[in-house]
Subunit: 343 residues, 2 copies
C-alpha cells in the first residue's frame, strides 16, 4: 500500500510518468493541451503512488480552494445543527470540506468570521441564519460579501433576503400566517407573541405573517402584545412571566421559534398552567424534539436539512445573472399544545 501524504509531490509523479511537472499538473486537473494518452498515463501513475495534491500549494498557486465556509449563529442550536447536517451531507458526497464558524447572533462577530473565511480563501461561503432588520447593520457585511463575489467567490445565504445572493428563503411570513389562522380558527382572540429581538428579519417576517392573518379576520394586530426578548429558550421563559403578569387575559402564545416555545412551556409548567387547557402554545421550525415535548408542540415545519443541502447546491452551480431564490415551503404541524379557547 503506497502511503500518501507528506513527502509525495507532484514532481515525483511526473518523473515516474516521464513527463514534466507542468504536464503532470495539467493532466491531473483535466486541463486540455495534453494528449489523452499521456494524461491517462499520468493519472494511472498518480493513482498507483497514492498521490494526493497538497491543497495549500494548489490554492496558493491560484487554484480555487475546495472548502466551503458555513456561518451559523450557534451550532448547538438544533435549528442550525440540522442545517449544518444538510450542508455537511452534501459536501461529503462532493468530497468538499466544510468549515463552520459561529456568529453568535452578533453582527460584528459575524463580520469578523466572514472576513476570516474570505482571508482563508474558501471558495464557497454559506451564511445561515437571520439577517438584521436595520440596513445599516448589514451594510458592511453586504459590501464585504459583494467584494467576495466579485473576486469569484460563490455565496449562498439561508433566510436573508436583503443580500443580493443566491438564497434559500424559509417561508417565514406564510408560516406566521398559518399559525395565526390556526389559533384564530380555534377561537383565540387574545394572542400574545413571544418574539426574538426585533432586529432579526426572521422575527419581523414571522410577525408580519401573524399580523396578516389577524387583519384577514378583522382583528387588530396592533392590539396584540409582542414581547421582544432573546431568540432562545431563556427568552421564552422571561417573556412568559411578563405575559402572565401584564396580559392575564391571554389564551394563546405564539413563540417565533421552537427554542422560545420550549421556554414558554417550561414557564407555564412552573406556574401549573395547563396547556392547551388554559393556554395554547405554538412554535416555529419543528426541530426534531418538538414532537417529544410535553405537550408535543404545534409548530411550523421547515425542512432544515434540505435547506442546508439546497444552499450548498445553489452555491455549487455557476452564478446566475440574477440571484436565484428558492422558497422552502412550510407545513403546519398540529400537535397537542393547541386547543380551543377555554370557555
Amino acid at each position: 500500500m503506497p502511503k500518501p501524504g507528506p513527502g509525495l509531490r507532484l514532481i515525483d509523479v511526473a518523473q515516474r510518468a516521464g513527463v514534466s511537472l507542468a504536464t503532470a499538473s495539467r493532466a491531473l486537473s483535466g486541463r486540455d493541451g495534453v494528449s489523452e494518452e499521456v494524461a491517462d498515463r499520468v493519472r494511472q501513475v498518480s493513482l498507483e503512488m497514492g498521490y494526493v495534491a497538497n491543497p495549500y500549494a494548489r490554492t496558493l498557486a491560484g487554484g480555487a480552494s475546495s472548502t466551503v465556509g458555513l456561518v451559523v449563529h450557534q451550532v448547538d442550536d438544533p435549528y442550525f445543527s440540522e442545517i449544518a447536517g444538510g450542508v455537511i451531507q452534501l459536501a461529503g458526497e462532493q468530497s468538499l470540506l466544510v468549515q463552520i464558524c459561529h456568529s453568535g447572533r452578533d453582527p460584528s462577530q459575524e463580520l469578523r468570521q466572514l472576513r476570516n473565511l474570505i482571508a482563508q480563501r474558501v471558495g464557497i461561503i454559506i451564511v445561515a441564519g437571520s439577517g438584521y432588520s436595520d440596513p445599516r447593520v448589514e451594510s458592511e457585511t453586504r459590501s464585504v460579501l459583494e467584494g467576495y463575489e466579485r473576486a469569484g467567490g460563490r455565496l449562498a445565504v439561508i433566510g436573508r433576503h436583503s443580500l443580493a445572493a443566491d438564497a434559500v428563503l424559509p417561508d417565514n411570513e406564510a408560516g406566521g400566517r398559518a399559525l395565526g389562522e390556526h389559533l384564530i380558527g380555534l377561537g383565540h382572540r387574545n394572542i400574545a407573541i413571544v418574539a426574538g429581538t426585533a432586529e432579526l428579519t426572521t422575527v419581523t417576517d414571522r410577525m408580519a405573517g401573524v399580523a396578516a392573518a389577524m387583519r384577514a379576520h378583522g382583528l387588530d394586530p396592533a392590539a396584540m402584545p409582542v414581547l421582544h426578548t432573546d431568540f432562545i429558550r431563556e427568552g421564552g421563559r422571561v417573556a412568559t412571566e411578563r405575559i402572565l403578569r401584564e396580559h392575564p387575559g391571554t389564551t394563546a402564545i405564539i413563540a417565533l421559534n421552537d427554542a422560545m416555545a420550549m421556554g414558554v412551556l417550561s414557564a407555564l409548567r412552573e406556574h401549573r398552567i395547563s396547556v392547551p387547557g388554559r393556554m395554547s402554545v405554538v412554535g416555529f421550525d419543528d426541530v426534531s424534539v418538538a414532537a417529544d415535548l410535553a405537550p408535543s408542540l404545534t409548530t411550523i415545519r421547515l425542512p432544515m436539512t434540505d435547506m442546508g443541502r439546497m444552499a450548498l447546491d445553489l452555491a455549487l452551480k455557476p452564478p446566475a445573472a440574477r440571484p436565484r431564490r428558492r422558497r422552502t415551503g412550510h407545513q403546519l404541524v398540529v400537535r397537542d399544545s393547541t386547543g380551543p379557547v377555554p370557555a
Copy 2:
C-alpha cells in the same frame, strides 16, 4: 476603512512599517530576534491595515496548518452538536478554523473522512464519538492515525480509550453505576436496559457500570433484559415495544443515551403508561432538551461543551510522552421521570 482579504500581503504591511518581510513575519508570529519596539510597530500597522495572513502560504512555507478537523458521528445529534459547539468556541478564541465531517457511525466512512483530513494536511484532528468494541474494526483507523501523529499531526479523541492518543473520557462506567444505584435505591428490581448496538464501546461501558451497581446490591445483572437497537431515538421506541411485550414485569428502563430515552418516553406515552407512576425512565448525557421533556428526564449529565473544549485544548498542547487522559466527571440529575417502584 482598510479592506482586508485578497490583495493585502505581508510585504505590504512590512513596507508600511518600514521593515523587511522577514522581520514582519517574525514580529507577527511572535518569534524572537526582533526588538519589542519594532515588533509592536509591526503589529500595530498590521492591525490598522486589517491584515490577515494567507494560511495557504503560511502552511506551505512550513508553518503548522491552523485548521482543526473534527469528526463526529452526526452533527445534528445534540450530543455531538454540543461537543462541536465547544470545539468551535475554543477554536474561535484561538482563531483556528474547524472542519467538520460526519462518520455516520460507520467505521469505513470514518476512515475515509480521516484520510481526507490528513490529505488536507490539517494540523489537528479531533475524533468524537464512540469507538468500536471489535478491535479489528478499529485496527486500520488506528494505524492511519498513528501515521498521522508520527508525521507531526496532533490528535485528540473523545470517548475512545482504545486509541493511544490524548483523550477526553466521559465517565461512562461511573455514570452507569450511578443510574443503577439511583433506581435500585428507589426499590426497582426489574430493570431493563435499552442499549445501542453492542459494537459501540460507549454502550458496553455504560452497561458495565449498571451491572456493577447491581452486583453491589446482590442482584444478578445477567437476569436483566438488554435490548440492542440503534443508538438513536427510533431504537428507543423499538426496544420499548419489545420490553412491554416480552418483559411485562419491568418497572424501570435505563436508556443508554438521551436520544433513546426520548424514544422510550414516546412509546410509553402511546401506550398510556404513566411515567414514573408505572415505569421509571432514565437517560444518559443530559442533552439540553432533557429538562423539557414530559416528564423531564432523570439522566447523567456529561459536560459536552467542555468536553469539546478540553479535547481541543489537549490537542493544542505539545504532545506528552504518554497519552494524556482527562476524565470528564459526571453528575446524576434527578428529575421527574423516576420515582419509587409501584406498589
